[in-house]
Structure formats: structure tokens, C-alpha cells
Symmetry: C2
Subunit: 356 residues, 2 copies
Amino acid sequence: MRARLEDVARLANVHPATVSRALNERTRNLVSQETLDRVRKAAEELNYLPNSVARSLASARSYSIGVIIGDLAVPLFAQMLRGIDDIASAAGYSTLIVDTNNDREREITHLRNLEARRVDGLIVTTSTVGDPDGSSRFTKVAPVVNLLRASELASEPEVISNDDLGMHQIIDHLVELGHSRIGLIAGPPMVSTAKARVRGYRAALLDHNVPVDEDLVVAVDHIDAAQGRKAAGHLIETTDCTAIVGFNDLVTFGVLKELRERNIDCPRGISVVGYSDVPTADLVYPPLTTVAVDHYAMGAEAARMLLRVLDEPEHRSAPSVQFPARLVIRESTGPRNIGSRPPIAARHPSESPGPD
Amino acid sequence: MRARLEDVARLANVHPATVSRALNERTRNLVSQETLDRVRKAAEELNYLPNSVARSLASARSYSIGVIIGDLAVPLFAQMLRGIDDIASAAGYSTLIVDTNNDREREITHLRNLEARRVDGLIVTTSTVGDPDGSSRFTKVAPVVNLLRASELASEPEVISNDDLGMHQIIDHLVELGHSRIGLIAGPPMVSTAKARVRGYRAALLDHNVPVDEDLVVAVDHIDAAQGRKAAGHLIETTDCTAIVGFNDLVTFGVLKELRERNIDCPRGISVVGYSDVPTADLVYPPLTTVAVDHYAMGAEAARMLLRVLDEPEHRSAPSVQFPARLVIRESTGPRNIGSRPPIAARHPSESPGPD
DNA sequence: GCATCACTTGCAAGCGCTCGCATACAGAGT
DNA sequence: ACTCTGTATGCGAGCGCTTGCAAGTGATGC
């Protein structure tokens, strides 16, 4: 039914091996221009499509890379995947996307599957660090590149964003606006980016000679809006913060919601900053000041790194690439309100402004 | 290096074929309990992991299904994929996710790739209909199930949401609140769900004896917030609508933004309804009234359907499953304002309410 | 004029598994 | 005792491709 190499060979009047060489980029130079043309014509005529399964088995390479994602619903991953796929497919690789849903069980199943499918490499973005078995469970499947995930021992190549820089920009901005009591909603302690951002937060405050108050830092154990709300409530009730920085935009949306619920105007009562610049960040109200990172580029870079590793297996340099972060100032941040802390937000135009 | 079937066979002192049978669910009943135990022990001892590539080649089935997505960044797809993957992987299939980015070129490349990898089936969610070649380009790769995508000729099984029902609920709700001038921002004409929703909109209005005014229907050609804004602006300027229904939540976020920009209060000035109930729908302001669809369940159902087709290839019934839609009423809809149309929203508590 | 070389192509042995067929063997039926 | 059935295993031919090696060809150099 489907044309095989042999069929093409017969039509082109050459040996199957020659067809294989002709159709394969890497070995094309071994065949003469004349036969190459003939083979090509035959292949086209028969509408020949190589069977990658057979090719993989014979060549002991699957020409596929696995991409492990913790939560596909986070929009930045779509960007990343685009970057990865563009580079990978240009090099003849296809990507096997795996969404672990941040579930240990699922990760194991999927990982076994990727191993069974003999992926040539792995891009890992699940950011949990300090696992019992570290990242060895990935490494023993295939060469890995960490993406958005700082490995503690830096034995593998990684591409991460410069969270330190991002945090510094946030704090610079906030301090400039007069804030000194800046709350931080940190991510889960096991998440590598969470650690980096807390570090950046502290360093930036110190740079500005603003004392670091541990009460102003509250960690969520799950990255979602509900936790963001809760944390914001805690911060508002127990501290005198005039600004809140969220671990990422999703968490920060929760902060915005909590402020609204409590009738605290943003930014006039409390300024709010997110992280990631998801597409909806400028659609919420007020449009969110946040830190933008080029996730597409990061994905592409990770793919390039992995391809490089696959090409020269013994080039164990384990480079670490950091991508710059860029503060996007929108409307959720403003000057610190001098005087009593939280102005009350207006509910409706018809209601009288001010406290009700 | 890695254990093969033969290694396990040698250790268990049986023929490789027996190991194959023992390790394969479907043929397990052909081997005696005794040898089964022996084989299992040997496999475990050698940490044997079957090579799916070889298995695929030999069995002429890849045990993988391709899922074609138009835009992975749309959050509902993550849900869907979860549903698909849960069912598929339970049946021993893995999913090959492909994001075409709504790009024809990319789709072709990826489709060829899926064909080369010999996927056993396809779940197609890219909703463009009326293609030059219809859906035949999919069908000739593998059996397909359409998801969220009504095929015009219904030759393939499909699982879709009941857009008619959804639209009826929206219109019921809006009419009940006193609205009769209801603007609709329709999706691109080639998108199957867009057509279905316009149909539902018309039918629902007729049911309420509300005249259908074609001026109130404006189509966007790209599904994003920017287009939503533009369309909303158009509707506001050229019609006397008191409510706007968006094609989906993303488009509707644009509507919300435009209203804010124009200082029109929502819902007091104009009521707004979305579609899809994305996770952020209740985080924006005002929390969006929208139609929820169980995308996880739809994904799961599509996977089940596909598996059924793969199991009994000649069972050409082409069933069409419709999933119910459920209106989620939040705060972006309210009673029609009697009197002059758009009340002006308050900007800041300190500013005087009313027009500025 | 012959060894040398580069360039093409053919040959065939796999890659690790599945599956139809043959075989062996135990127990049942007559 | 003999055939008959059913169950459990062995056997080996592939699945469609890649790749190291051999072999053939004509051109080149001395």
C-alpha cells in the first residue's frame, strides 16, 4: 500500500541503500547528482514518505526530544514550546510534549514512556529542586537541558531567566516610587525560580539600604490565584506594606482580586507587581506591572543547546545561559500614598467616593 | 547496554517469543503462570524496558495518537489534553501533541511528521472548516476524531460542545435582565464553532421574539483581545447595544478593556458575556459571566471514541457527541440601564464621579 | 602501463520486536 | 492403546530502514 524504500529503488533502478543515502541529508554527498535526481523523481512519483519508526530502529536514534512540562495551562509554556519546536523541527527532530500536571506519579509514567520511545534528549522544565533522586531520573533516560530550572549542582546545561535582575528592576521601580515596605509573595520553597527571586528581592533591598523584614515575605505552597489571594490577605492584615510583589502573574491576579474584595485601590492604596508578563497581564484591571521574559527565545536556546549536546556527545561543558528580564511598567504601580495606608476603591460611579 | 527481549529470555530460560507474549497484556493468557512469573522476575532483575520503536515496527502499530491544536496558548486546550492523555495512556497509547500556531505551513509539516511516525489515529481540534481539501488531509494519515470542530459532512466522529444551548442560555439571561439590543462579536467565519454560535444567537433571539439586527453582529478575523477591543468599539459607536457577547473569553477580555478605556461601566453601562470560562475569567474585573464547558471531559470522550475506532476499524458509525454548556453568572452582566445608555465609570475614588 | 585514489554503488547483516505456524506434551474419550 | 483436543512453547521470517564493507569504475600520477 504505502511505498517503501525498496519500491523507490526499483523504480529508480538502484539499490535500496542508494535510495536511503540519497534521501538522507547527511549521506547525500555520497551519491552522484544523476542518481540523486533519478531517486528524487521516483520518490516523488510514488509519494514516498520515510517510515521514521524503521529509521529509528535501524539508526538507533529516534530523532525526537522529550519536553517535560509541569503545567501546560501556564501560558508561557506555549511560547516556550514554540521556540523549542521551531529549532528542533528545523533540525529534523520532533518534540514529544509531556504534561506532568505537577504530579509525581504522572511524571514517572511519562518518563518511562519517553524512555521506551528512546527519545534522544530531554528538556526539563519542572522546577522542583531538591528531589530525593535529584535530576538523575532524567539524566539516565537521555541527555538533558534544564529550562527555567536551575539545577543545584550545575552538572547539566541550563537556560534560565535572570531573576536577580528582574527582582532588582522591580525593587528599583518601587523604591523610586517611595515604597519601602514591600511585601513579597514567594513561590513554593522547592521551586528553583522561587528561591532565586527571594534572593534577588533581598539583595535589591539591601542595595537600596532598605531593611529586609522577614514578615514581609510569605511563601505559597501552590502557584495559583487562590493562594495569591490568601497570601495577600495575610500581608495586608499583618503588615504595613504599601506594595506587593507576586511570585508570578497568576498569583498576582489573586492579589488584585483580594484588594478589590477588600476595597483597597490599586495602585493608590497598594501597588502590585507580577512576574512573567502573561498575555492577559495588560487585560486585567489595573493593567499589571510585571517582568517580561522572552520565553520563546529561551525555548529556542534550550533546543539549540540540546542539539549541540546530541551532536557532540563528549562536549561536557554544561553551559548556563541567563536571559535578561525586563520590567514592564503598567498601571498597577504608583507612588506611595503619604498618610494613612489604604484608600478605599470606588465601587460604582453612582456611589459616593471615599470610605463607605 | 540496555537489556533486550533476548536477554530476558536467556535469563528466564525461555524463547524470546515467549517473553514477548508474557509481557504483552493481550497475549499473556497464552503463557503458563509458572513461566509468566519466571519471565517477570527476569525482566525486573534486568530492569527491562521494551523498545517501543521495535515493537511499533514489528506490529505495524505505533501506539501513539496525534493531537492537532491550533493554538496551545489557549488555556482550554491544556484541559483537553489532560483528558485525552488520561484515557489514551491508560490504554497504552501516548499522545503526540502538535501546535500548528494556526499556520497552514506548520500544519503541513507537522502532519507529514505524524504520518512518518505512523500515528494510529488523530484528534483534530483546528477548527477551520471549508478548507480547499476539507479534512481529507487528516483522514488519509489515520482515522480521525474531530474535537471542538464540527465537520460539515459528518463523515467522521466528532465531539463538540452544544453551542446552541450555550447561546440560548446567554440570551435567556440577558433578555431576562431586560436587554434586547445585544451585540455579538462572532468568531472568524471559517471557524466551525463561530458559525454554530451565531446560529444559536439568532435562534435564541427569535425564541424571545427579539428582532435580529445584523448590524449587531460583527465578526473578527482573528481570535484575540485586540480584535475584541476593536469590535467592541465598533459596536458601541454604531449601535445602541446594551450588552455584548464575545466569541470567547479572550476576545471578551478585549471588550472589557475597551469599555474601561471609554469609561463605560460594566455591567451598569453595558453587560458583557464571554464563552469558555477560562481560569482567569473570574479574576478580571468585573468577574466575567461566561459559558463553561467541560473541556477535560470532552478530551477524554474524544480519546475514547478514537480508541473505539482503532479497536473495531469497520465500525463506521461516525457518532457525534454533544457536550452541554452551562452559563456561569458572575458580575459582568446586570439589568439593562433604563434611560441614557452608558453610565461613566469612576476612575479613582478621589475623582468626582460622573463624566469628566 | 600499472599502482593508486576518489567516487559510486551494491551487498547483506542487523536494529529489537511480533506473530503465524509447527511442535510437543498432557489428559480425555472410546 | 490410539486418536483427538487443547494448551504451552519454540521457531523463524519478517517489519522498513541504516551502515560498514566490498567491489567496481574511471581518472591520476609516475
